[in-house]
Symmetry: C2
Subunit: 315 residues, 2 copies
């Protein structure tokens, strides 16, 4: 194997880059802004220029690079076709073909969805490094989910494996999700969803004393902080989030039976006060064959993506 | 590739065997009874004797056989370890090791769960032969489910991938499933579940005219037949089954995003009157990225298993 490998994690505001030795050592990580103008046509050339800059500074040539792994914020099919990346202004394109045209020197190119890459990163160097399979759920503005089953990243026929954020967890709901449907998991269990539920609870229980009522502009983080400080309503809100998410994850386990579930994303900074209700609900609803699946918080944070991208190349 | 390959589908009452050319031609299929006494210790020797008999009759030696693929009625891990097969009286054992000891002449041995094998069979020679991935749900006494995603059979860390029969579709249910939990999919959508719901509906609506009331000993098949004949209550019962199953399958699609869903098992003989409500509910609840996933009835029936077993060997 050649001595170097690059991981490139493309987000809507920043491109994160990592230069690794193929033994897994991270040599350097850095980031550049994502220029999404002109139909996102600068994104890949900018990323390549960033890699070339590092190579020039370190006197490395493409003949010494095993390959480049990339994560992008949108659905990616098994053959590397990106169907769309709204945040990058990208339409459908074959990323392996585009990259080959931009830089023929790249020996091996691999691409997947950003959450899939992060999940693989956690399996390689993070919270799931003892495992062969894991499902990571990221709770932020929305819900992301990466599935690595039997050692392989799941892409799905439309690149939509792991799109659990819009699984309907309440078939009676009349609150419309931005996707157009009702009762989506994301409306309850993302940071946005938690905040929505918190405001609803405050309005429905006007007499109930809670630290949440004192906040000028309530945030999901404040709900988590209040729960950690023992606020009863905040704890109830996280219990309700855990009830829905843990139950939904039994459906995921029913399908791919992973060794571990990882909880990541901004909301996961809440730690155990978030993780425990999710795991408890999971164990309540799970079929006995997979009731003991491990639960853990993701560990690599924003670096998970570059690790996973590099790992895709290493196989 | 060597000229022959065998598929061996082991069930609780019969072992189905298929002798194939490696070009995919089925040369002969036959079955023998499953002898489950003595801890199921006769099952594999009996299956091997059946294969040896065919080989002797056809003057074939192991040196001409590419391999043997096997399906068993229980969870199988990726390494071929069977955790238990209640219907065969088997405890945990490594089937590749046992088979190697019984017949060292087998060049390649592959084993998976019987429903996984049947799903792969449908992908190879049946209703999903145009696809690279499919999820098959079999509706019989219980619910089985096989998952082939991105071209590979999903095993799961405990061999429990595809165990959707005990996904809780009603968290408020107080009716206990034989698994010990409440509100399991199987309690509503298996043949047994459909019959349970039919009896409940008859008791709850004693005045309602329906052909179902005339049956001495109502069966799930009679419910399906009545629906095909236009009986309003029977149609409602299949709609309700479809509502729950189609919705549950959106969770499966959220995880692995297959190209096609196949409905098999005894209940699937009902045809469109069963398939349509399932597909309609799926499309109502599915996220737009996979709303158009194809639905079809399984085609190979009891032969799906031997086809899939042979295909595992062929890769």
């Amino acid at each position: 194997m050649l001595p170097y490998v690059f991981g490139v994690d493309i987000g809507g505001t920043a491109i994160k880059l990592g230069a690794f030795r193929t033994d897994g050592t991270l040599l350097e990580k850095w980031q550049i802004p994502t220029r999404v103008e002109d139909g996102g046509s600068h994104v890949l050339p900018d990323a390549l220029d960033a890699l070339r800059g590092w190579m020039a500074r370190n006197q490395v040539t493409w003949s010494q690079v095993e390959g480049v792994g990339m994560g992008v914020p949108g659905p990616v099919k098994l053959d590397g076709t990106v169907l769309r990346c709204i945040n990058l202004n990208w339409g459908e394109q074959s990323l392996p073909a585009v990259m080959k045209a931009l830089e023929p020197g790249i020996a091996k190119f691999r691409v997947t969805n950003d959450v899939n890459a992060a999940t693989l990163g956690e399996l390689w160097k993070g919270a799931a490094s003892s495992c062969n399979s894991a499902v990571m759920v990221t709770l932020g503005t929305g819900i992301g989910c990466g599935v690595v089953a039997d050692g392989a990243i799941m892409s799905g026929s439309e690149g939509a494996a792991g799109e659990i954020g819009h699984f309907c967890v309440d078939r009676e709901s009349t609150v419309r999700c931005k996707c157009g449907k009702y009762g989506c998991l994301e409306q309850y269990c993302s940071a946005t969803g938690l905040l929505r539920c918190a405001k609803l609870a405050l309005a429905q229980q006007p007499e109930r004393p809670t630290a949440l009522r004192e906040k000028k502009q309530l945030t999901a983080k404040q709900v988590c902080d209040a729960a950690r400080a023992g606020d009863a309503l905040a704890l109830e809100l996280l219990d309700e989030l855990g009830e829905k998410l843990g139950w939904a994850l039994t459906a995921v386990a029913s399908t791919v039976n992973p060794e571990m579930f990882l909880i990541g994303g901004g909301l996961s900074k809440a730690g155990d006060v978030l993780l425990q209700p999710i795991a408890a609900s999971y164990r309540k609803y799970a079929f006995h064959a997979f009731r003991d699946t491990a639960f853990a918080l993701a560990e690599l944070g924003n670096d998970a993506g570059i690790y996973g991208c590099a790992k895709m190349v290493l196989g």
